[in-house]
Structure formats: structure tokens, C-alpha cells
Symmetry: C2
Subunit: 366 residues, 2 copies
């Protein structure tokens, strides 16, 4: 079975590494000649909206998936005429637009922050009146890693926010005063079976995920998150991994956003789940039964942002696993991650105390 993957970044690379043992083969399409997945599988270099590249990809594979959510919907539609594409186009469209996403969540009874569509300065002023301040103005489309967002704290921020983001479709969201952030990695097979990983607690800085820790050990939140995700999966007739990020506010979940793909906060599943998110995504896409999603022990993942840590220093920490993506380091870029994995929360904390100075020296030790 050959699977085409739109996008050959680190997620594509890790999909391939998880798929080879199943006997799967891969062909990638990515605009970048040095895309990480090209180190391990054939790579078609070209734009996602280049019909010739899309047709070549379709001709070389049995089914198609994608490794990020900003691939053009038209490209996926074109592919879907020739080969099965999972997750479904509707999920991709929804995830690409914060308004559609919030609307879907609300329709399915998944709590979200108050939000108002904004297409003009006047609408922004009215929206602020509705949500109150503070609030966050976000582009409806193409946002990731905190890009395309502006926090409004006082009325004086309204005009600068409009200056910064105005001109494209926007959404104003009421500020959520959350205790912490979590994510749920969910997966649904072609046969409709679903599985859910334990909730992961995530720490961001400058809009970029720095630290994920699992499992959360909050059964009520786990149950609520699974119920929410189950409705989304079912509504979208979803196939593959879906990640949903939630704020935790007074022991309740408020959905922030979803990603119709494998997710950074699920990288820990490579070491510490019975089946990794990458393999489960592929099992879903190619029509195999899903694997067990339980966590084994206590685990944390640290992103390597902007530079690679010293491999020898990381390797010297017992229980640590280094993952480098083969990307040219530059500020703000995810170039790798390190997984710490232990029997106990104490053991994990000891590992993290050694790893954080190596991987993320600016972390506050949280």
C-alpha cells in the first residue's frame, strides 16, 4: 500500500517512520526541496496547487493524507477525485477557518469562548462591546503557532489591532482566563471505531508549544474531552487523527481549536503509548484496525525551538529520546523534540530538570 502525503515536514517524516514497519510506502509532495521527509521517502518538489504535481502524486499512490492543515482545499479536492483522501475535505475546510470551527463546536455542544466574526473596523468595535475586554483578535484563516493573533487589553488596543490584522476575515474571541491548556489526540478508523489518548497538558511560550506532559490524570476532564471529540469525529465522518486543544477553566473544558492531523502535543506517543499517534493515523487512513492508545508510565515532550540541543548531552539523560528533524535551525523554528519517559511523576520531573536547561534554557522550570 502506497500513501501520498501532502507536506513533508517533521510530521510527515514521523508518519513515514511509523508506517514503514507496517509495510507501508510513501510519496511526499512539498514545495521545499529539503523537506525532512525527503530523507526517507520519495519527494515530489512542487507547490500544493500545482496540478501536474498533484496528478503525479495521485498516480503514484493508493490513498492520500496530509501533514498540516493549511494545504489548499482545492488541491485536496482534486486529489480526492482520483484517490481516497483522509481526513475528509470537510474537516480540512472547517479547521482552516476559525469561524467555521467555532460554529461547528457550538452546534455540537462543545463549549467555546464568546466569539464574533469581524470584517471591518466598525464590526470590531461592536464585537469588543459584545465579548468585553480583554479579547483576542485572530485571523480566521492560516493561523498557527500564535501567528495572526493580537491581544486587546484596553480600548486603546482596538485601533492598533485593526491596523495589524485588518483586511482579511477576522474573529474576535473573548479572553479565556484559563488555569492551563490541554489537548486531546483522537482517532477514528474507516470502520467508525474511535480511540482517544490520555489528555496532555501543554505549556506555550510566545505562542509556540514548549512542553507537553501526559497523562493528565483528571478522569472527569478526560471523559468530557472524549465526549466532545467523539461528536466532532462523528459529525465530520472523520478518518485519521484529530487533535483538539482545550482551555481548562474552573474544571471545565473550553475548546480552542482543532487540527485535522497528527499533532505536536502527541509526539510523546512514539515512546509512551501502546500505539503512536503516527501509526494510528496511518492505520485509520489505510483501513487497518486502530491500536491501543493507553499511556505507559509518565511522559513529557520538550520542543527544540530555533536550535538543536547537543545530542550527547541529551543522550546522557537516562530515559530521554532525541528526535531531530534535519531542518536548518532558525529563530522560532521547530527543529526537533526530546521525550522524557519514566515510571513515576518524580522520575519524570528529575529527567525534566536535567533536560530543560539543555533543550529550552529560557523555560521557568514549570
Amino acid at each position: 500500500m502506497k500513501t501520498g502525503i501532502l507536506g513533508g515536514g517533521q510530521l510527515g517524516l514521523m508518519l513515514a517512520l511509523a508506517g514503514f514497519p507496517l509495510g507501508l510506502q510513501f510519496v511526499f509532495l512539498d514545495p521545499k526541496r529539503d523537506a525532512p521527509a525527503g530523507r526517507v521517502a520519495p519527494l515530489i518538489t512542487g507547490d500544493f496547487d500545482d496540478p501536474a504535481c498533484l496528478d503525479e502524486l495521485a498516480s503514484r499512490v493508493d490513498c492520500v493524507t496530509f501533514d498540516f492543515e493549511n494545504v489548499p482545499v482545492a488541491a485536496v479536492r482534486r486529489l480526492a477525485e482520483k484517490r481516497p483522501v483522509w481526513p475528509p475535505v470537510a474537516a480540512l475546510e472547517t479547521a482552516q477557518d476559525r469561524l467555521l470551527e467555532k460554529t461547528l463546536f457550538t452546534r455540537l455542544g462543545v463549549p467555546v469562548a464568546p466569539n464574533v466574526a469581524v470584517d471591518s473596523r466598525d464590526e470590531l468595535i461592536h464585537a469588543v462591546a459584545k465579548t468585553g475586554l480583554p479579547a483576542v483578535l485572530k485571523t480566521r484563516r492560516m493561523g498557527y503557532d500564535g501567528k495572526g493573533q493580537y491581544v486587546l487589553r484596553t480600548q486603546a488596543d482596538v485601533e492598533p489591532a485593526w491596523q495589524a490584522l485588518g483586511g482579511v476575515a477576522l474573529l474576535l474571541e473573548g479572553f479565556v482566563d484559563f488555569a492551563y491548556e490541554v489537548s486531546l489526540i483522537a482517532v477514528r478508523g474507516r470502520d467508525g471505531h474511535t480511540a482517544f489518548y490520555p489528555l496532555t497538558q501543554n505549556t506555550h511560550r510566545d505562542g509556540i508549544l514548549r512542553l507537553s506532559r501526559a497523562p493528565l490524570h483528571e478522569p472527569a476532564l478526560q471523559q468530557a474531552a472524549e465526549a466532545h471529540a467523539g461528536r466532532v469525529l462523528s459529525e465530520l465522518d472523520y478518518v485519521g487523527v484529530l487533535a483538539i486543544e482545550f482551555f481548562v477553566v474552573a474544571d471545565q473544558l473550553v475548546a480552542n481549536e482543532m487540527a485535522p492531523r497528527v499533532h505536536n502535543s502527541g509526539h510523546w506517543t512514539i515512546e509512551a503509548a501502546r500505539t503512536s499517534q503516527f501509526q494510528n493515523h496511518l492505520r485509520a487512513v489505510v483501513g487497518l484496525p486502530l491500536g491501543a492508545t493507553e499511556a505507559v508510565g509518565e511522559v513529557a515532550m520538550l520542543n527544540c525551538i530555533g536550535s538543536e540541543p547537543d545530542p550527547a548531552a541529551v543522550a546522557a539523560v537516562p530515559g530521554a529520546s532525541l528526535h531531530l528533524y534535519g531542518k536548518q535551525p532558525r529563530p522560532g523554528r521547530k527543529v526537533g523534540h526530546v521525550t522524557a519517559w519514566a515510571d513515576s511523576a518524580e522520575g519524570l520531573s528529575q529527567q525534566l530538570a536535567r533536560l530543560q536547561p539543555l533543550v529550552d534554557p529560557q523555560a521557568d522550570g514549570s
Copy 2:
């Protein structure tokens, strides 16, 4: 860092899959155009003793290792003139010759079965008198998976054994009436540090490994095995993974043979050890600190011999991981393996009860 690997079979494939996350790259040399590792890394197709191929390999990599023990020593010597080669040539030479191997073990105080070199019919007759019957006549070189062996039960077997194997250097070994077989996967870094995985219990049929189960939970045997292996590693100034197979006889270990490479009985470490044997071999070869070798939970590995199991049936067993090597199935050929991994021995047995009929229908359920 680029590593050259002599041999691109499933062991080479799994080395590459374990090395990519460390940012390592690989070039393989293998006589077979369809060698499994060629699916994920550049493959030079040519004989191991072809000087042009060896020189090309050396020119493209920083260091060299091998994925099986029957590569010609002369080839490794040629490579070693240009690039560091690990494990060391001396270990390869010793492992290629049962007499050298047994002599080394004996010199280091590692118990072995009584054994006598045999180069003629007369020597065979004298050897039988020394070891007694039953005994096993083995070729000194190029044996694997039970090939090149003949069991002598009575004097009447002497002549047929000689007819079957005579003409090459042989070794007669006294029969070891063992309770069961185990193996130790040991690893030594460039810095001389050593690490040992928990002992694995192995079940063979027709000379081929069928089932490995770990950890053994016999601390005295573990301690003895580590002491034996530690002396061998040190004596050979070894770098990389070394596997030693032992018979267990009346709670004592009797060394059978060693393999200077990653080993079939260590495949379970991919899922159920903090660091897999594959990654630890590479860490050693490229000079990184070794990773933790402890087992996580209870684990078993079933070899897929001669045919691939139905992937959907295997995937439907929770906790099971399928590894297919992309090899053309034929009788007696290892084409994949399945790992079963659980919290408890009971959970593991339940998984095995479901997996054995799928993977190895002839197994007796042991």
C-alpha cells in the same frame, strides 16, 4: 553524521529507522537489489568483497558498521583502513569461527559445552569419544539459523554426519541438556561504558527463533550473564551491540554462541525498552552515550517465518505491533515479526494466545 552499513536486511532497516530520529543518515551496501533497507536509505548494490563498492561506501560515510556477522573479514579490514568500523574486526573474526568463539569464552571463564575441533573422519571419531553422545557436529564457519549442524545420537550417526558436513572445518560439541535458552543483548560505548538488557527467553523450532519473551526475572542468571558478557566486551574492546546466547542448565548458564550485531531476540526492545537495541548500537557506533536498557512491562516477540500474517488481524490485537520487512516470502525466511506488549504476564499471555495462531499456527502454545 553518515553511517555506512554492510548488509541491508531487516536488521539494517531497523537500524536506520532507529537512527533517523538522532539525525543520522545511512548508506547501505548489499548484494541484493531489493534489500529491505533500500526502501529507506541509499543502497549500493554489490558484493561485500567488491573493492569498488567498499571504496564507494567508505567515501560516502563517516563510520561503518554491519548488520550480520558473515561479512568477509577482508572487506571490513579494507573499510577499517579508511573509516572507523565498529564492532571491531577482531570481534567479527571471533564470531565467525565457532572454535575461536569457544576458545575465547573458555579463556574468559564463560562456561561452554565440551567441544573438539574436527578436520577429518578420524578426528570426528576421537572427538565423539571425548564429548560422548549425543553431540552436535557444526561447521566452524557460516552457520546461522541452525544451518550447518548435524545431531549425533548414536555411533551410527557418525558416518552420515561426516558425509553431510565433512570437508570444511568442523567442531563437535557435547550435547547440552538445557532447561531453556536465553540471550543477553549487551552494548558497549566508545567510552567503554556498558549496558545490558534484561535476559530474553527464546524458543526455537527447526533451528529458527520463533518466540522471545522478556524480561526473564531471574536475577542470579541476569547477574551471571552480565558478568560473562562484560568480560567478552572488555576483552574485545568492543563497541556496539553484542548478543550472547546461553543454555540454562541446572540454573547455570552455558554459552552457546555470540553475534557481534543487533539480534533477533532483541527486537522487543523497540517497543518495550527505554532505548532500543538498534538505537543503542548506533549510539555506541557514532560515539553518543548509551541509553537506558530497562524493560517496560512484559513483552514477547513472534517471528513471521515464510509468510506474512494478515496485517488487519494482527492490528486488531490490542498491544500488538506488526513489523514487516518488505521481503519476498519463502519457506524458512524471516519476513517480519510481531511484538506483544502488556503490563502483566497475564495480559501478555492473552495477547500471545490471540497472536500465535495468526503468526505461527504450528506453535504448541508455549
